[in-house]
C-alpha cells in the first residue's frame, strides 16, 4: 500500500498523458467485457421471448434443375428428404434430458451437458486440488530458496501450455494407457478428460495458493516454531489454515478454468450427452458443445440461440466464481491479517 501523498503534485504534461492513456486502456478492456456480455445475451434472449426463427416449413418447392446427367444413369442413390416435425420452442425444453439438436425432432435438454461439465470438473479438481495445494505448501514452507525460485516460474509456464496439446496427448496416449491400466469400458470418458484437465488446472491452483501461503506473515510461523512445533506441524496446522480463504479462492479459480475449458474436453471425453452416475462413461460438456457445433449452425435459428444461451451460462458461472474468489481473497484474507 503506497502512502498517500500530501504534497501537491506539480503538473507534468507527459505524466498526465501517460496516465490518461493507461486509464483509457483499462476502460477499453472493461468496455470489451461489457460488450461481450451484452452481445452473448442479446443473441440468446429471443429464445425466451419466442422470437427465435422457426425452421422454414418444408413446403414442396420443387426440385432443382439438373445439368450434365446422362439419361438413365442418374439416381442410383436415393436421398430421401425427411420431414422436420418441430414443436415451438419453450424455455422448459432446456430442462429435458436429451441433447439432440440436429434431429428431425430437435431436443435441446441442457441437463446432460451441465452434468457432464460438472463430472469432468469434479475429477479435475479432486486430482489437481491436493497436488496444487501441497506443491504450493512445499514451495512456501519447505523448499530451499533455489528450488522455490526455480519451481514457481516453471509451474507458471505450464499454465500457458496450449490446451489443444494437452487434449491431443490425452486423446492419443493417455486414454489408451488409462484404459489398459484400469480396464475402462470406454476409452474416452469423464475420468480421462478430468485427468487431462488436471494438467491445466494444477498451475492455477498452485500459483494462487502459493501467493496466499507466501502472504502469511512470518510472525505466525516464527511464533509456532518458537512454541516448539516442528516444521511440518507449523506448515500443516498454522500456515495452511491461515491461508484457507486464499486456497479456497485458488480452488474456485481452478473450477472456473476447468468448467470453461473447451479443447481438452472436446478431444478427451468422448462427447456423448448422457446422464449417468459413472465417472468412467463418456460425457459431453457445455463448452465442448459450443466448440463442436457453432461452426455449422444456421444463423438465427433455435439451435444457434441455445448455443449462445450456453455461452451466457458459462459466462455467468465463471463470472460468479471469479467474483466470489476475488471477494474471499480481498476481504477475508486481507481483513484477517490487517491486525497483525
Amino acid at each position: 500500500m503506497p502512502k498517500k501523498r500530501t504534497e501537491k503534485k506539480t503538473f507534468r504534461l507527459g505524466e498526465f498523458l501517460i496516465e490518461r492513456c493507461i486509464q483509457g486502456v483499462a476502460l477499453i478492456s472493461l468496455l470489451f467485457i461489457c460488450l461481450i456480455f451484452v452481445f452473448v445475451f442479446r443473441e440468446a434472449f429471443p429464445l425466451f421471448t419466442g422470437q427465435a426463427k422457426e425452421p422454414v416449413a418444408q413446403a414442396d418447392v420443387g426440385a432443382s434443375e439438373t445439368y450434365g446427367e446422362e439419361p438413365g444413369a442418374a439416381l442410383t442413390v436415393d436421398h430421401p428428404e425427411l420431414e422436420q416435425k418441430q414443436e415451438p420452442f419453450k424455455a422448459r425444453h432446456l430442462l429435458a434430458k436429451e441433447w439432440q439438436p440436429v434431429s428431425l425432432n430437435p431436443k435441446y435438454g441442457l441437463l446432460p451437458l451441465l452434468w457432464g461439465s460438472l463430472k469432468v470438473t469434479l475429477v479435475a479438481l479432486l486430482l489437481a486440488g491436493p497436488i496444487g495445494i501441497f506443491a504450493a505448501l512445499y514451495t512456501s514452507s519447505f523448499a530451499p530458496r533455489w528450488a522455490r525460485e526455480g519451481m514457481k516460474p516453471v509451474i507458471e509456464i505450464l499454465a500457458g501450455f496450449p490446451s489443444v496439446v494437452i487434449g491431443f496427448f490425452a486423446l492419443v496416449i493417455l486414454a489408451s494407457l488409462l484404459q489398459r491400466f484400469f480396464g475402462f469400458q470406454y476409452r474416452l470418458n469423464a475420468f480421462t478428460g478430468g485427468l487431462a484437465m488436471a494438467f491445466a488446472v494444477i498451475p492455477i491452483i498452485y500459483t494462487v495458493s502459493e501467493d496466499a501461503l507466501a502472504a502469511i506473515p512470518k510472525t505466525l510461523t516464527e511464533a509456532s516454531l518458537a512454541l516448539g512445533a516442528t516444521k511440518w506441524e507449523t506448515a500443516l496446522f498454522v500456515v495452511l489454515p491461515a491461508a484457507t480463504p486464499g486456497i479456497f479462492a485458488a480452488v474456485l479459480l481452478g473450477f472456473g478454468r476447468a468448467f470453461g475449458e473447451t479443447m481438452i474436453v472436446l478431444m478427451a471425453t468422448g462427447n456423448a450427452a448422457i446422464l449417468t452416475a459413472s465417472l468412467t462413461d463418456p460425457v459431453r460438456t457445455l463448452s465442448a458443445t459450443i466448440g463442436a457445433e457453432m461452426a455449422e449452425v444456421v444463423f438465427g435459428d433455435i439451435h444457434y440461440r441455445v448455443l449462445f444461451f450456453i455461452g451466457a451460462l458459462l459466462f455467468i458461472i465463471s463470472f460468479g466464481l471469479n467474483a466470489i474468489a476475488e471477494f474471499f481473497v480481498r476481504n477475508r484474507l486481507m481483513k484477517r491479517f490487517k491486525g497483525i
Binding site: 418444408q58 418447392v61 442413390v77 486423446l171 472436446l266 455449422e296
Partner: protein, 267 residues
C-alpha cells in the same frame, strides 16, 4: 466466415465488372481438395480463366450461393427445401444441380473384430441403440462402443437420413471431430464401430454392408448402399466460361482427377 463471404461478395462484384474470366467456388470441406485440383488443372490449360476455391462447409457454401457471394457452390449433401426456397425468392430459380463425383461412406470396425459385415438394418439398430451387444449381430459377447461424427458434419446428416431413416442417434454415441479421429478411435478400440469417408488407417477394416464391400466398382455402380453424390450447385444454367468449366469437370479429364483425389467418378 461471414465477413469473408461479404468480402468475397464485394470482390466478386468488383471483378465481374472488370473481367469475365473469374469463377468463384465455395462450400463443402469434403470437396475442397477436389475442387482445388480441378481448378489447378483447368487453369493450367486455359490461361485467362481464374478460379478461386474456398471451403467452409456445405451450409456455408449454399448460403454464399443464395447471397450471390459465389458462382459455384460445392455441397456434400443435396440442397434442402428451405434453401431452394430462399434461392427461389431471390433469383426466381431453384438452382441447377450437378452431380460431380461419388463418395462411398465406410463403416469402420477394429481389425480384431471377428465380424466381416453388417446389414443396413443391423447398422440402424446399432446406431439407434436397439442393439447394444456384438453377440446380437453374430460377434463376441461384448458391449458395442459406438463412435460417430459431430452433428455439424454433413456426414452425420447423411448417415441419419439414409441409415437411421431420420431417427435419432443413440445418445451414448461418442461424437468425434473429423474422420481421422473416428478412425483413430476405432483402431484403438476392439469393440468400436465408426463411420466416415473412405479413409486409410492401420488397425481398422471396412465392414461389408448387406454383403457388399466398398470399392471403386460397387460405389460406381451404386450397389454399395452408402454411396453419396458430391454436388455442385449453380444459380442458373451454365453459359460461356462457366459451361466450359463444368463440361470439363464432367469430361473424362475432369473425372480422372476425381479418382486421383480418392473419390469415385459419376460416369
Amino acid at each position: 466466415m461471414k465477413l469473408q463471404s461479404i468480402t468475397t461478395g464485394l470482390l466478386l462484384g468488383a471483378l465481374s465488372l472488370s473481367s469475365a474470366g473469374t469463377i468463384t467456388v465455395k462450400g463443402s470441406d469434403t470437396m475442397v481438395i477436389l475442387a482445388q485440383r480441378w481448378a489447378e488443372a483447368y487453369m493450367a490449360d486455359h490461361t485467362g480463366v481464374t478460379i478461386q476455391v474456398t471451403g467452409g462447409g456445405s451450409g456455408v457454401g449454399i448460403s454464399a450461393l443464395i447471397n450471390g457471394a459465389t458462382d459455384i457452390c460445392n455441397a456434400s449433401r443435396p440442397m434442402k427445401a428451405s434453401e431452394r426456397e430462399s434461392l427461389k425468392s431471390r433469383y426466381s430459380s431453384l438452382g441447377v444441380e450437378i452431380k460431380s463425383a461419388k463418395d462411398g461412406l465406410s463403416v469402420y470396425l477394429n481389425d480384431q473384430n471377428s465380424l466381416e459385415g453388417l446389414t443396413m438394418a443391423q447398422l440402424k439398430d446399432i446406431y439407434t441403440g436397439k442393439i447394444k451387444n456384438w453377440k446380437e449381430v453374430g460377434g463376441s459377447d461384448a458391449k458395442i462402443v459406438v463412435y460417430g461424427r459431430e452433428n455439424s458434419s454433413g456426414t452425420y446428416v447423411f448417415f441419419r437420413d439414409n441409415v437411421l431413416k431420420g431417427e435419432d442417434y443413440v445418445s451414448s454415441m461418442q461424437s468425434l471431430p473429423g474422420t481421422a479421429a473416428v478412425v483413430n478411435a476405432v483402431a484403438k478400440d476392439p469393440l468400436g464401430i465408426g463411420f466416415g469417408g473412405a479413409a486409410y488407417g492401420k488397425g481398422i477394416k471396412f465392414a461389408k454392408i448387406n454383403g457388399i464391400a466398398p470399392s471403386a466398382e460397387t460405389v460406381k455402380n451404386g450397389t454399395y448402399p452408402l454411396t453419396r453424390y458430391l454436388y455442385m450447385y449453380l444459380r442458373s444454367r451454365p453459359t460461356g466460361e462457366m459451361k466450359q468449366y463444368i463440361d470439363w469437370i464432367l469430361s473424362p479429364a475432369g473425372q480422372e482427377i476425381v479418382t486421383k483425389v480418392g473419390y469415385f467418378p459419376v460416369r
